[in-house]
């Protein structure tokens, strides 16, 4: 019987099988940031342990960093302490770090692939749930907690139980204007935020193969919002072309050897999955979330739902609470919802292609007068530099956007970038939880082009009609 992509990569990383069915799984790449690592380094220190394999870990600060006036340092003393702790820990334990003054600094999930630190078939972990992003390379990529960060630092392994494997196939050509982000939101709307719990998801089918690496990363990034352990896409020429020539990717003869191995990283034709779901790309319309969970999502052509139509009491209460929090009335067309702020960035949509798509929408136009702030925050210093080389920053600035320095920024509002209570935001990030972008803030998740169009119009619009 054939093997699934997940099984192939898993099997290559089993150090030892335990009696209870768990395994000791070897970790090839460990990405580190300032928020979930200080207690792990402290744990190592207290136990007198050393990192098992230094070169496997690479760090960068992202969650807490300012996106303006960076030369003045970090104003918030608590944030500054945490970023300095990362610098100190990396220096003490000999771990490579792209610090605040390094052009390679950025959101850890943008920086990793960009540097070629994430390669096909690897096992990748990070103390961050959106590590699932890296499954776009046909790797097993999982978010872990701080205790496991310490475990990986100390042993280069994790104790893991093999999840079940689900294949989600999206058939047919990808309609114009539909991105990896729309596919992700659509699928979560269909299967729910717990739809993937206990599973590794392989995304497959014509529409997925048609995505760029950026699109695949946006999709896998949000696999965690469907509750999955990880999301994956098989390796193909698109993957190989992306990886080639990146700073940490293999070169010369080693690259050829690697490519031969990477070409095997797909599910065999006769592989059996624990669960299979199929969707049609033609059914996907640009998506906008309306509530406080990523599964509360609708096509831009839809209207805010009525709790009376919920499937049970728990859902009804959830919807009602979401409507109250979001300040929305059942039956309001999505396209009539006016916004106060716009955020384009994050590990979901902070890559060069995202800014190209957004810039195409705003070129020659002006941010609506009713919009208080529209910000474009590149995912890394290199994305920023590339966008500037292409003149995208000027397009954003001319339209009235702020063009910022790289970091997580208003995706989670740990720095100064945040919503005030009651403010409504079109955001390209991945979570619309209560308070996520600032206490009382109201988040609508959309693709970069949808966010850009909303900034210009002052409300959501169907970008398929955009002129």
């Amino acid at each position: 019987m054939g093997q699934t992509l997940f099984d192939k990569v898993w099997q290559q990383h089993v150090v030892k099988a335990n009696d209870d069915g768990s395994v000791l799984l070897y970790i090839d790449r460990h990405l580190v940031h300032e928020v979930t690592s200080p207690q792990a380094f402290e744990g190592l220190r207290l136990a007198g342990r050393k990192p098992w394999r230094r070169a496997a870990s690479v760090a960068t600060p992202d969650h807490n960093v300012p996106t303006v006036d960076r030369d003045k340092g970090i104003a918030d003393p608590v944030s500054r302490t945490q970023v300095e702790a990362l610098d100190r820990n990396c220096a003490e334990f000999g771990i490579t770090e792209f610090g605040l003054d390094d052009v390679r600094q950025g959101v850890v999930h943008v920086m990793g692939p960009e540097q070629g630190l994430v390669l096909p078939g690897m096992t990748v972990v990070c103390g961050d749930s959106h590590t699932s992003t890296h499954g776009a390379f046909g790797s097993i990529a999982m978010g872990i907690g701080t205790s496991e960060v310490e475990h990986v630092l100390a042993t280069q392994c994790l104790i893991q139980k093999k999840p079940k494997v689900m294949r989600i196939q999206v058939d047919g050509a990808l309609p114009t204007g539909i991105t990896g982000k729309d596919i992700a939101l659509y699928l979560i709307g269909q299967i729910g935020t717990a739809g993937g719990t206990g599973y590794a998801i392989e995304f497959a089918g014509e529409a997925i193969r048609a995505l760029s690496m950026e699109g695949r990363m946006s999709l896998c990034n949000m696999a965690i919002e469907a509750g999955a352990r990880c999301g994956m896409v098989a390796v193909d020429q698109v993957t190989l072309d992306y990886v080639q020539g990146r700073p940490f990717a293999p070169k010369g003869a080693l690259a050829e050897q690697a490519e031969a191995a990477w070409r095997q990283l797909h599910s065999d034709a006769d592989a059996v999955f624990d669960k299979e779901l199929r969707f049609q790309a033609a059914d996907i319309v640009p998506q906008v979330s309306w509530g406080t969970s990523p599964e509360m999502v609708l096509p831009v052509t839809g209207s805010v739902p009525d709790p009376a139509d919920a499937r049970d009491d728990v859902q009804r209460e959830g919807w009602q609470r979401a409507l109250d929090y979001m300040g929305l009335t059942a039956g309001t067309p999505i396209a009539e919802i006016a916004i106060d702020k716009v955020f384009i960035g994050s590990c979901t949509n902070g890559r060069i292609e995202d800014f190209r798509q957004a810039a195409a929408m705003v070129r020659g136009k002006q941010v609506a007068a009713s919009v208080k702030l529209a910000m474009a925050v590149p995912g890394s210093g290199l994305v920023k530099a590339q966008a500037e080389a292409e003149g995208l920053d000027q397009i954003f600035r001319d339209a009235g956007f702020e063009w910022r320095d790289p970091g997580c920024s208003m995706c989670l509002a740990m720095n100064a970038d945040r919503l005030e209570p009651g403010e409504r935001c079109a955001s390209t990030s991945n979570r619309n939880f209560e308070g996520r972008q600032g206490m009382g803030g109201r988040t609508h998740l959309v693709s970069p082009a949808m966010a850009a169009a909303a900034a210009i119009a002052g409300h959501f619009v169907d970008i398929r009609d955009w002129q």
Binding site: Q12, V15, K16, N18, D20, S22, L24, Y26, D28, V35, T36, Q39, A47, W52, R53, H63, N64, D76, V78, S79, T81, Q82, M122, G127, D128, S129, T131, G143, I144, G145, S147, E150, H151, A154, T155, Q156, C157, I159, K161, A194, T197, G198, G227, A249, P250, L254, Q257, A258, A261, S293, V314, Q315, G318, L412, A413, M414, R431, F433, E434, M439
Partner: protein, 211 residues
């Protein structure tokens, strides 16, 4: 890590589905580089009227009277009763740290988000999965009876209700072992150091680009 063996405690009902880690401990508290001290900020935005900041003295902050943990009958609760997909969202271990620091060492729900579930075991918290109907019954009884308690026995894998009903739960053998004995699993893994080295040597032959 603190071991978990048995627990007999007051139950606090958190009657919402999809309670996420941002709700359990809002991001401003993630700036701390410590492992403790998060208890006063557990469910901060639901619990207090004002915006919490790290290092604040919470004893003087205005509380939301209708929030479950602010009600007198649930003071001293050690067991949190929750709805489906509890702990979804980020991987922040600050969420279980806050739950533990507050005084809970057991969470009962019909389902948990994966990373959160795993993080609980690393911190001496026992997450128990019971089927949705059973959890529904527990909610009903907990609301109905002031001072409602449950008794949990990890060795026997049972939850006993005040009327003597015994509910069985599943738990992975290895996790149970570690939790019962308060074991640090890094030490256990390092006992396999030779196997890890042998694996690395083999992989270096097969896939040199990884090293």
């Amino acid at each position: 890590m603190q071991a978990f063996t048995t627990l007999d405690g007051i139950v606090a009902p958190m009657d919402r589905a999809n309670v996420d880690t941002d709700a359990i401990i809002p991001k401003q508290f993630l700036k701390s580089i410590r492992r403790s001290g998060y208890g006063p900020f557990l469910f901060d935005e639901w619990r207090y009227e004002d915006r919490g900041e790290p290092e604040m003295d919470c004893s003087k902050r205005p509380k939301r009277a209708d929030f479950v943990l602010n009600q007198p009958r649930y003071q001293g609760a050690q067991i949190l009763l929750a709805r489906e997909n509890f702990g979804c969202g980020s991987s922040r271990e600050h969420a279980p740290w806050a739950i533990l620091d507050y005084g809970f060492s057991c969470v009962i729900a019909p389902s948990f988000a994966d990373i959160f579930y795993n993080n609980c075991f690393k911190n001496g918290i026992l997450p128990i999965v019971l089927d949705a109907n059973t959890v529904d019954d527990l909610f009903r009884d907990c609301f109905a009876q002031e001072g409602y308690r449950l008794s949990v026995d990890l060795q026997a894998q049972t939850v006993t209700t005040p009327d003597g009903q015994i509910l069985h739960f599943e738990v992975d053998a290895f996790r149970k072992h570690c939790l019962l004995n308060g074991l640090d699993d890094i030490a256990l893994t390092l006992a396999d150091a030779d196997a890890i080295r042998a694996y690395e040597a083999r992989r270096q032959q097969e896939a040199a680009w990884l090293f």
